[in-house]
Symmetry: D2
Subunit: 145 residues, 4 copies
């Protein structure tokens, strides 16, 4: 973290009270911390609307592990990225996490890094694999803010 | 607006610079105004996760005005609410706005007021009408904050 | 609506039962209607991720009507669009709807038409006006699908 | 997967063409697979609006690993859950994944299981820890559908 600045914010007493109640329930130790997070979320959200922004993403999916060869194809998809696009390419699968949910279903979280547009298209490829039942993708902008 | 309070917020210089750039682009005249809006949005968002919260909603839909009797059914649906549920009931259609988009399609915005759960179920009824092609619902919590 | 085609979809019996229960509760008269709507929503959602897509939007805001001159500035903002950008420009405010919520607050829905990026920047300008307390923007892609 | 049923869906030729183009780009091997996924997503989404629904979630956050003791507090928070609430309690941290993003920042994904309301409040506690810069929570309903 760089140099700190202190700014003044004026707001309605009732709004402040309600906000204080919420953030203490959420576990924040200071208003500054809570407000910084609101600001960062908004900046991140806004940058993500540009397909060229660099981001990190978690593709989050539930799949049937009996689906023939899904695990193999997932691993292929994850590993073929640098091969297919060359080592200098931005899109990278960084890591993945696997959880057994029940006798049929697994949860897998795949962490990707790249431009928003590339991540989205990679995520669509993952979520369209046969046997994937539910999926979602979460993006966070990582460029300097 | 009630009584104003002034609080201090400390944050990283770079974060502040990026935020200042964003809000000036958005047209805000002061940081306080922008931060108040972030706070209000978050409080509203959070209250909406409780199905019993009182809210106001805009159901926003595109429909084919050639669809037989859709307009009639929309009007029925809007007018039957108090009748069916009694005049004291919370769910109300307040107003609606109609726009011709092209030779086939109209846009209609219906403003509703009620509990989150009631609004959602009314909105689903509207969006499922034959001829409605696209729809979305926007909720804002109106309870004191 | 153009020519109809009929396709076959195979799905798990339990999934179908749950879906049938949901759509009958939502008021759909046929599965085809419900599935068409899911497809249209997804196509619209996807097109909206491109800033150049033509869309229609409803900017939905709650504001304090005591805020000096907010109504005037809202009207200015709505009317200056074609003037500032020339009559051939795509961004247009089509219509707006105003509702009195209580002694302080009004709800206003402004319907805009234009490219996603232009709509978003116009919406930000509206939502940053002094006195606007809460706002949200809803986009629907209108390009042929 | 249980017993399969086959249903017929009628839709506009142009809508079908656009859908086919999209799903082939996404990598789907059949329309049925793509439509099943749309249906499952909608059912999951709808169930999540009930705070009592059982779900699995990934809390996804970026944090500054220099923040004193954040890692310790994260681990505490994850481990104290069953202790504080008793072994029979539904809320469980299942697993977590840690990625180094750069010299300052780490990404952590924490997979939780429980009721929607419990998961949300646990997630808020995690995201409010000092040093957490950005966070997001993803929920998927796991109850039978």
């Amino acid at each position: 973290m760089g140099q700190l600045e202190r700014i003044g914010v004026s707001l309605d007493k009732n709004l402040l009270l309600t906000f204080d109640t919420l953030i203490s329930k959420q576990g924040y130790q200071s208003r500054s911390e809570a407000i910084r997070n609101l600001i960062r979320q908004q900046l991140s959200q806004r940058r993500l609307s540009d397909p060229k922004t660099k981001a990190v993403a978690a593709v989050f999916m539930v799949y049937d592990h009996h689906a023939t060869k899904l695990s193999d194809r997932l691993i292929d998809l994850q590993h073929c990225v640098p091969a297919k696009r060359g080592p200098s390419h931005l899109l990278q699968v960084i890591s993945s996490l696997h959880v057994h949910l029940n006798e049929h279903d697994c949860l897998e979280v795949v962490v990707l890094r790249g431009r928003v547009s590339e991540i989205n298209s990679m995520a669509e490829n993952i979520l369209s694999l046969k046997g994937v039942k539910l999926g979602r993708i979460n993006l966070l902008a990582t460029e300097p803010a």
